[in-house]
C-alpha cells in the first residue's frame, strides 16, 4: 500500500550547545542516545510508510544540528532514507570536516544548508554560536571539495550591535563564497527564550532600522544575480546558474501547500485534513516508538477553508504568481481592489502577484486580502 506524500522531513534534535535565540526542539549532547534515536526514527518511518508515495521528491534532515549526530548513526539513517530527487541536510560550520562532507555526499545528500548566520566574530558571540567566521569559510570549501554544487547559507540580520556596515560586510562575504542559495532572516527574539530576556529591549529599539536592513538584503542580493523567490529565500537565478532551478524544492512544497510527513521529536506532518505534531520530549518519543506505537501527538483538523487560507498565506510569499482560481471565496474583493490601487498587488487573469513593496509588506497584505 502506498500513499501520495512526496516530501519527508526528519528531525535530528541533537546540538553541542543550545544557542540563546533558538526555539527549535533541540537536545544538548546525549551522544549515548543518538543510535537509539535513529532506531526510533526508522521505526516511525516504517509505521508511516503507507503515507508515502513510491518515489519521493524531497527529504530534508533538519535540526537541531543534524551533523552533530554521531557520524555512524547519521550514516545509518541516510542509508535507510527512501530515495528522493533532493536530499538536504542542515549543518553547522564547526561540525563540517572533509570526512563528514564526503560521507554526506556518498550517502546521497544533494544539498547542504549551512548555518553561517554571520561572519562577524562579535555578532556570532552574541548569538552564542560556537563557529568562528573561518569555520564558515572552511566548511563551505570542504563541501565544495566533496562535490556539493548546491549549498545554501543561512544569514541572520538585526543581531544586537549589528550596524549597517556589518550587515553589508556579511552580505559581501556570502556573495564572495558564491553559494547557490541564501536564506536571510531577521533575528526574532521568541518569547520565553533566554535571548528575548537579554536582548528584547534592544531588538525593539532597532525595529525601525530593520526596514532598511531588509531592503538592503533584497537590493544587494537581487543586484548580484540572486532570485528573491521567497520572502526570506534567494537562489542564483537560472540564467546565472546554467539554467538550473536552485530553489529549495523541499521548502517550496510547504509554500505551495502540499502534504508532507515529518518524523522525529517535535516534527510536524500535514496530510489531507490532518496536521499532527509529535511530542517534543525525547523519552516519551523513544519509549512509544520503541514499542511500535505512534509517538504522542497533538492533532489538528484542517478544514478545506483553512488549508485554502494557508495556501494563500504561504503562496503569497513566493515570487511566482499565485493562482487564485478556486480560492476566490477566501479573498476580500474590496481589499483586493484597494491593494491593486496601491500597487501592492497586480492581477493578470487568475494570477495574483505581489510587487516588491507588496512582498516587503506581505504579512499586512495577506491580512488585508484574506476575507
Amino acid at each position: 500500500m502506498s500513499g501520495g506524500v512526496r516530501h519527508l522531513y526528519v528531525h535530528l534534535p541533537f546540538c553541542g550547545h543550545r544557542c540563546g535565540y533558538c526555539d527549535f526542539v533541540t537536545v544538548v549532547g546525549r551522544r549515548g542516545q543518538h543510535e537509539r534515536y535513529v532506531d526510533a526514527l526508522l521505526a516511525e518511518l516504517e509505521l508511516e510508510a503507507g503515507l508515502l508515495a513510491p518515489h519521493l521528491e524531497t527529504v530534508f534532515l533538519g535540526g537541531g544540528t543534524p551533523t552533530f549526530t554521531e557520524p555512524a548513526a547519521l550514516r545509518r539513517l541516510l542509508r535507510r532514507m527512501p530515495r528522493a530527487d533532493e536530499v538536504t541536510v542542515e549543518a553547522n560550520p564547526e561540525t563540517v570536516t572533509p570526512a563528514l562532507a564526503r560521507m554526506l555526499r556518498d550517502e546521497g545528500v544533494t544539498r547542504v544548508s549551512l548555518g553561517a548566520q554571520s561572519f562577524q566574530p562579535h555578532l556570532l558571540a552574541v548569538l552564542e554560536r560556537h563557529a568562528r567566521p573561518e569555520h564558515v569559510r572552511t566548511a563551505f570549501y570542504h563541501l565544495r571539495d566533496a562535490g556539493f554544487d548546491n549549498i545554501s547559507l543561512d544569514l541572520i540580520y538585526g543581531i544586537p550591535g549589528q550596524g549597517p556596515a556589518e550587515l553589508h560586510a556579511d552580505i559581501d562575504e556570502a556573495l564572495s563564497l558564491g553559494a547557490e542559495h541564501l536564506s536571510c532572516y531577521e533575528l526574532e527574539a521568541k518569547r520565553g527564550t533566554r535571548f528575548a530576556h537579554a536582548h528584547g529591549a534592544e531588538l525593539a529599539r532597532q525595529a525601525e532600522a530593520m526596514e532598511d536592513y531588509f531592503e538592503a538584503v533584497v537590493g544587494r542580493l537581487t543586484a548580484a544575480g540572486y532570485r528573491w523567490y521567497e520572502t526570506a529565500n534567494f537562489c542564483r537565478a537560472a540564467e546565472t546558474a546554467g539554467g538550473r532551478d536552485l530553489r529549495s524544492r523541499h521548502n517550496l512544497a510547504y509554500w505551495l501547500g502540499r502534504d508532507y510527513l515529518g518524523i522525529g521529536i517535535g516534527a510536524v506532518s500535514t496530510v489531507a485534513a490532518l496536521r499532527w505534531r509529535n511530542t517534543p520530549r525525547l523519552p516519551g518519543y523513544l519509549s512509544a516508538v520503541g514499542s511500535d506505537a505512534s509517538p504522542p501527538r497533538e492533532v489538528e483538523e484542517l478544514s478545506v477553508d483553512v488549508r485554502g487560507r494557508e495556501r494563500v498565506m504561504l503562496g503569497l510569499r513566493l515570487d511566482d504568481p499565485f493562482l487564485i482560481n478556486g480560492d476566490e471565496h477566501l479573498v476580500d474583493r474590496e481589499a483586493l481592489e484597494r491593494l491593486l490601487r496601491l500597487g501592492l498587488v497586480t492581477r493578470v487573469g487568475d494570477e495574483l502577484t505581489l510587487s516588491s513593496r507588496g512582498r516587503l509588506l506581505g504579512g499586512g497584505v495577506t491580512a488585508e486580502l484574506l476575507a
Binding site: E188, R275, E310, R317, L342, L344, G362, G363, G364
Partner: protein, 594 residues
Amino acid sequence: MQQDRIRNFSIIAHIDHGKSTLADRILELTDTVSGRQMRDQVLDSMELERERGITIKAQAVRVAWKGHQLNLIDTPGHVDFTYEVSRSLQACDGAMLVVDAGQGVEAQTVANAYLAIDNDLELLPVVNKIDLPQADPERAAQELADLIGGDAGDVVRISAKTGQGVEAVLDAVIERVPPPSGAADAPPRALIFDSSYDQYRGVVAFVRIVDGSFRQRERLLAMAEGTRFEAEELGFFSPTMQASGTLGAGEVGYVITGLKDVSRLRVGDTLTSVERPATEALPGYKDVKPMVFAGLFPTDSDDYPDLRDALEKLKLNDASLFYEPETSQALGFGFRCGFLGLLHMEIVRERLEREFDLDLLVTAPNVAYRVLTKDGREVEVHNPAEMPSEIERVDEPYIRASIIVPKEYVGPVMELCTERRGRFDHMEYLSEQRAVLIYELPLAEVVVDFYDQLKSRTRGYASFDYDIVGFREGDLVRLDVLIAGEPVDALSLILHRDSAYGRGRALVDKLREEIPRQLFDVPVQAAIGSRVIARETIKAKRKDVLAKCYGGDITRKRKLLERQKAGKRRMKQVGAVEVPQEAFLAVLNLQGSK
C-alpha cells in the same frame, strides 16, 4: 393639618458644607428615624436603593416638631442644577442657608442665596461645623450677614455633627418661615416640582399643594399638558412612603399617577381636579435647554442597543437629559446628548458606565451655537460636524461667572479668565481675605478644563458658579481633522479663530503619534474649510512580514495572521485607514483639555 402649622423649607449649601448631615440630624431629632435606621434609609446611595427595590428617592421628607408639620424639600447642590434648585425652591416658603464655619461663603452659596431671594423665600442663615478647630464662626456669620443683609447676631451657630444648635434651627423655622398661603376651599391646584419613575407604579409626581385638597382615586388633570389620570395613591415621605389618602393646601407630598410615559407629566405643570377644575394654572417654570453637548458612542458597536436602553432609563428620572441618535463615520452609531452643564455630563456618563456597565467613547463637549447662514437661515447647532459651511454669523452662549477666591489668588484667576476670552465685570471683597470676581465668559471656554484650571491655579481655594446670560456673536470657526483626505466627523471642533492654529497643530501631532503606520502614506491634516492649517504624514510601513515560515510554523503563523485580522476588525475605519480606538481616545482626551 391647619395651614398655619405647616412649614415648607429647604436647606441650601455649598458642597460639603454639611447639608446632608444637618438633614440627618433633623430626622433624628424629630424622631422621624432612629440613628441606625437613618443610615440605612436616608443615606443610601442610588445603587443601594435599587438593590432594595426602592427606586424612588425621597424629594421631600415630612417631620413633626413642636406641633408643626415641617416639610424638608431636597435641592441638588451644584451649579448645573440651578434650574432644579429653583424649581425645588418654588415649593418652599423658606430656606436655611448653610455655610461652613471654616470655609465661609462660597460661590454656590451666593448663587443659591440669590435664587432664594428671587423666589421670595425667608432665609435662615446658619453657620455649621462650629465644633471644628479651624472654625471661625464669627467671620462666616459676618460674611453671611453681608451677603443677605442683616445682623451677624441673627445667624444661628450649629454643629450638625454633634447636634449642637439644631433644635434652635428648627425653632427658627417655625418662628421665621411663614406658613403657606393659599386658599383651602378654592378649586385644588398643586405644583409638580419634581417627578420620578418607578417601573411598577409609573410616574410619581412630587407636589406642593397650593390651593384646595386632593383625594385618592380622584381624577386629576395636568393643566398644561392636558393629561388626565387617576390619583392611585397620595401621601408623603417620612422618610419612607406613607399613603395618606388626602393632601391639603400647603402640604407637600407625592402622587402616584400610574402613567407609563414620563413625557405626559412635566415638571412645572399644575395639577387640578377633573371634577372641580381650577381655571388658572400656577406660574410654571421656563423650559430648560441643554447647553452642553457631546457624542456618546459605545466602544464596542454591539453595545449600541444597550446604550439606547440605558439612556431611555436615565431619561425617566432625569427630564433634563436630551439625546438623539447620531451616526459618526469614525465611531459608528451613538447618541448626541445634551446636558445642563459639565457636571451633569459627568454624572450621566458615570451612571451609564457604572450602573449600566457600558464602555463609552465621549467626544469633546461643545456648546449650543446659533448660526445665521449666508442664505438667511437660522439654525441651532449641537454638533460641530453639522456646522454649515456658508456662515454669516455665529452666536455662542455666554455666562456670568462668579468666582470667590482668597485675595492672593485674584491675579491668577484674572489671568485664566482673560485666557478664556473673559470680560471683567467687577470685583467685590466679601471680607478682608476673600474677593468675588464677576466675569462674563463664553460657555465654550468653560466647558473644557476650566474648573480644573481654576482649582489648580488657586490651590483648590476658588469656588465657582455661573448663570447663562444669553448668546453673543463670536469669531468662531470649525476645525476639521482629515485622515488621508477624509474628514473625521467625530473630531471636528468649533473654536475661536485665535486658538485654531495651536489646537490644529496639537491634534495633528497627537494623531501622528497614535495612528500606526499603514501600508501606504497617510496624510493627517487640520483644516478650516478648505484651508489646511497643520499637516503631518504618517509614513507607510516598509516591512510587515514574518521572516521564516516552514512546515512546522504554519499553524502558528496562520493563527498570528488571524489575530492580526481580528485586531483589524476592532479598528475604526476612516476611509482605507485603520485607526485604533486608542488613537481616538487620546485625541478626545486632548480635546478635553486646553
